[in-house]
């Protein structure tokens, strides 16, 4: 566990302006933002896999993972409308203000996995937290081995970050596989569930880490396939979600067994997840 390289904003949110909003998939929008305070705008650094607590003024605060790379990437969050606060967020327009606390959490390993192969496996909106790591690794491509992405969603309409996907398909040295549950006219990629695709592929096993993110059913079935291929449990990472209120390890809403997801996580190895002592 390690904290980000900057001192996080702990109690009083920093004000940021929404500069652009993009519709992604049904009920999901991406909000691009810039901090009002130039000092903060300059010094705000994150690690892939971290999250922030975002205040929608007048509605409340919610935890959201950061999908942008620590370097050279527009700051944004991608949020699904699913409750009172996120519904209020979806009503906002460019120019409106939000509050940011953080960044919090431990993040995906980056330095530690240099030289290794990386397999990213994502399902549906599970691509959001992984995007940060993917972009960052691609920005330092030569420092890693094979980089593979397996991404699936229910239908082509449910695939996140379609523009990025087009870029990634065309990127050399980035092995990408996309799948949807059922065949569709006009879809030339794979068909079937993500775990089935993982089972079919030839994947590296030695000096390899896997980052897996998606709904619980997909998660469990993918882990099974990866383990079957010989990838060790301590090399499989995921990011856990929990109801959070404070983000700093005090309110205890995010506790699982003996760990607090907001400070010890949200990134855990599968080996750790198995011994947490409670269901995820």
């Amino acid at each position: 566990m390690s904290v980000s390289t900057m001192v996080p904003i702990v109690t009083v949110p920093e004000v940021a302006t929404i500069v652009d909003i993009r519709d992604e998939i049904a009920e999901v929008k991406t909000f691009y933002f810039v901090f009002d305070n130039p000092e903060i705008e300059r010094s705000f650094r994150v690690r892939s896999g971290q999250f922030i607590m975002c205040t929608v003024f007048g509605a409340g605060e919610f935890a959201v993972s950061l999908p942008f790379s620590p370097e050279n990437d527009r700051r944004h969050i991608s949020v699904r409308k699913v409750g009172k606060v996120t519904a209020a967020l979806h009503e906002l327009q460019p120019g409106d203000k939000i509050g940011i606390r953080g960044p919090f959490g431990n993040g995906f390993p980056f330095e530690e996995i240099k030289g290794q192969n990386i397999i990213y496996v994502a399902g549906g909106i599970g691509l959001i937290p992984l995007r940060s790591s993917i972009v960052h690794v691609l920005q330092h491509r030569s420092e890693f081995g094979r980089v593979i992405l397996v991404y699936g969603a229910r239908s082509s309409r449910d695939l996140m970050y379609k523009e990025s996907i087009q870029e990634w398909k065309a990127t050399e040295n980035f092995e990408t596989y996309f799948t949807i549950d059922r065949p569709e006219p006009g879809w030339s990629g794979e068909v079937g569930f993500v775990n089935q695709l993982v089972a079919r592929l030839e994947l590296p096993v030695e000096k390899t880490v896997a980052f897996v993110c998606g709904p619980p059913v997909m998660f469990n079935s993918v882990i099974k396939e990866l383990k079957a291929k010989g990838i060790k449990e301590q090399n499989i990472y995921s990011t856990l979600e929990r109801h959070m209120k404070c983000g700093i390890g005090k309110c205890q809403h995010c506790a699982i067994g003996r760990t607090l997801v907001c400070v010890d996580g949200p990134v855990y190895t599968y080996k750790q997840i198995k011994t947490l002592g409670e269901q995820i």
């Binding site: 904290v3 996080p8 702990v10 109690t11 009083v12 949110p13 004000v15 302006t17 205040t55 003024f57 007048g58 509605a59 409340g60 605060e61 919610f62 699913v82 409750g83 996120t86 120019g95 409106d96 203000k97 509050g99 619980p216 979600e241 929990r242 109801h243 209120k245 404070c246 700093i248 390890g249 005090k250 309110c251 205890q252 809403h253 506790a255 699982i256 067994g257 003996r258 400070v263 002592g277 409670e278 269901q279 995820i280």
Partner: protein, 352 residues
């Protein structure tokens, strides 16, 4: 160690009143029940009143507290945010050692982990603690099982021990020393430490005779809870009796879970409010969308006792999470306070 004559208590009170709001045990004339509350006058204030029904944590960690205020004007896009910090210095006068241990746990939790909770820190900085040794236990007590009494060893500014003619006074901090000097208290003499030890020993010995409501085999239970070797049937049995009221967490001196809500006021300001919450509730872990990882009530009971007693949790407090005050047993509608739960676990181990 110093000595404070009983007759000098009002003087102590007045001295404290000058700089602090005073909180201490307040006894109701009609019912005889004791509440830890603001004490307006020194008359009628009795340091030897029985253990208060409520823990003093509300002074440091209020039931309902505004922590931030903000105002967002959508037309002009202007935002104003400020911390709320109107805190008076407070003194906890006559704090029992179990409750003081509770505060130490809260200190270690709020101030000593990855982040410092700034809200709690403000309260804590303005707090002066004068604890009071329990020269006798009360029927609900079991602090001897949780190593949190009957006398405090650390964390106080001053610690009092009643001897009859007055109080032995130990100093625990610079603030405490200053007060002792201001009152010009005499030294207690060579016999003082031995006298104090005797008083504490007598108190411990009377537990068997007086503290009859709760006996808890904490160490055995801690073992089982840590390793997870309590059968699900036991938790189901306990879960059936849970009324899901949250009381156990609210009355516990070491429980500190909270909820945050933004409340819009008619004036146009929004206040961010922090309120007590409890892991007993089903909605506590429910995420927006469907998933609730701790839905069945028996899982929540399991979690709470794990939190209070297992070894790994004690890392965060550097001691067991239970201070033996007995309040959860008194306040539980389902009669499954910590001592009873420990008894069920013990029965499962010993088979009787």
């Amino acid at each position: 160690m110093y000595f404070l004559e009983k007759a000098k208590l009002p003087q102590l009170f007045e001295l404290l009143k000058r700089d602090y709001e005073i909180y201490g045990p307040v006894q109701d004339e009609v019912s005889g029940e004791v509440i830890f509350d603001r004490v307006p006058e020194s008359s009628g204030f009795d340091l030897e009143a029985p253990i208060p029904y409520n823990p003093p944590k509300f002074v440091l960690f209020p039931h309902f507290e505004e922590i931030l205020k903000y105002r967002y004007e959508r037309q002009t896009k202007r935002v104003a945010i400020e911390r709320i910090n109107l805190l008076q210095p407070k003194v906890l006068l006559g704090l029992r050692s179990c409750d003081l241990t509770g505060i130490l746990c809260l200190d270690r939790f709020f101030l000593g982990q990855e982040f410092v909770d700034e809200v709690y820190l403000e309260h804590r900085k303005k707090l002066f603690i004068i604890s009071n040794t329990c020269v006798r236990p009360f029927p609900q007590c079991f602090c001897v099982c949780t190593d949190s009494g009957p006398s405090a060893r650390e964390g106080f500014d001053l610690n009092l021990t009643y001897t009859g003619p007055g109080y032995l006074v130990e100093v625990g901090s610079k603030k405490g020393q200053k007060l002792v000097e201001e009152m010009i208290l005499p030294e207690a003499g060579l016999e003082a430490s031995r006298l104090k030890k005797r008083i504490i020993d007598d108190s411990v010995l009377s537990f068997d005779r007086v503290a009859l409501e709760n006996k808890a085999w904490i160490s055995r239970a801690t073992n089982r809870l840590t390793t997870g070797f309590v059968r699900p049937e036991v938790w189901e049995y306990i879960g059936h009796q849970c009324f899901e009221c949250g009381a156990c967490a609210f009355v516990c001196p070491t429980c500190s879970c909270f909820n945050i809500e933004d409340v819009n006021f008619r004036t146009g300001d929004t206040y961010r409010v922090r309120t007590w919450d409890s892991c007993s509730f089903e909605g506590y872990t429910k995420m927006a969308g469907d998933h609730n990882p701790r839905k069945p009530v028996e899982d929540r009971r399991n979690k709470r006792f794990f939190c209070k007693l297992s070894y790994s949790q004690s890392k965060k407090y550097l001691r067991p999470g239970c201070v033996g005050c007995g309040r959860c047993a008194r306040v539980c509608p389902g009669d499954i306070g910590l001592p009873n739960v420990v008894t069920y676990i013990r029965r499962e181990i010993t088979g009787d």
